[in-house]
Point group: C2
Chain length 156, copies 2
């Protein structure tokens, strides 16, 4: 199947699920070669899960199906440029290519924060609109030190 | 309870769950006033979910418990600076403050990609190591147009 077919499927999911009350107008499809591995759509408001974006739900489902935490031989098609959360998820899942249609600027025009969050990420953590404050305690360095020493750790 | 107590709890979760084989050495606690709303820890490798970072799991659990998709009166304590995925999730959940101990640079030193992903996010989408390719199709603009017209949409 062509890239256009996969993108139209992502858009069709976005439309159908949004009209059904699932959440925002976002759909995604994960593809390996010619096979559709998973389909995702925005479920934020219907499931009370702010992380349930189309890309994240598609990644979770693909990993569950393939019994892996990495999707290195897969591509993702999404009807909107991934927000920073979804882009991060795509990096952790090690997808190969991202195909997107609408941009973060177009998402901002219909009321979504994607572009705003992209701008915030580049700022100094302490000066963002959600300030990140460093707080080192007696116990906070221990997990990292023990990770280094763990003989049977599963890297990701 | 003091901020130090919450941070030590995040670190204790990170240590306990990592030693138990759940995933990487990361824990998080979400707090509202004096109440601990939820606790999260990394579960990437044990659940085959690359999105199951400590902050994401804590946010999902807090939202499920409070039956909301926004946590505007809550703070998050995490033993490591949130990666871009988790930072995006924190923005979508509208948390108030982030308290963190180890930095993205320290995470890189023990083998995690947080700092790398922060650098990738600032690049032009087409030139990143996971290239993002724009692909507009006949149907790709429709979901956004229909969202604008939807009379009963739930914004987030």
């Amino acid at each position: 199947m062509s890239n256009e077919v996969h993108m139209n499927r992502a858009a069709a999911l976005a439309l159908e699920k949004m009209l059904g009350g699932s959440g925002g107008p976002f759909g995604a499809v994960i593809v390996r070669g010619d096979e559709i591995v998973s389909e995702g759509w925005n479920q934020v408001t219907s499931t009370n899960d702010p992380t349930a974006h189309a890309e994240v739900t598609a990644i979770r489902q693909a990993c569950a199906k393939l019994k892996t935490f990495q999707l290195a031989d897969c591509d993702i098609f999404t009807n909107c440029e991934p927000c920073p959360m979804c882009l991060g998820a795509i990096y952790w899942a090690r997808l190969k290519h991202i195909y997107y249609a609408n941009t973060r600027v177009e998402a901002a025009e219909i009321g979504f924060d994607d572009d705003f969050i992209y701008k915030e990420i580049g700022l100094d953590p302490a000066t963002r609109s959600i300030p990140a404050i460093r707080l080192v305690t007696a116990q906070s360095p221990i997990p990292f030190a023990e990770w280094v020493k763990k003989p049977d750790k599963v890297k990701y």
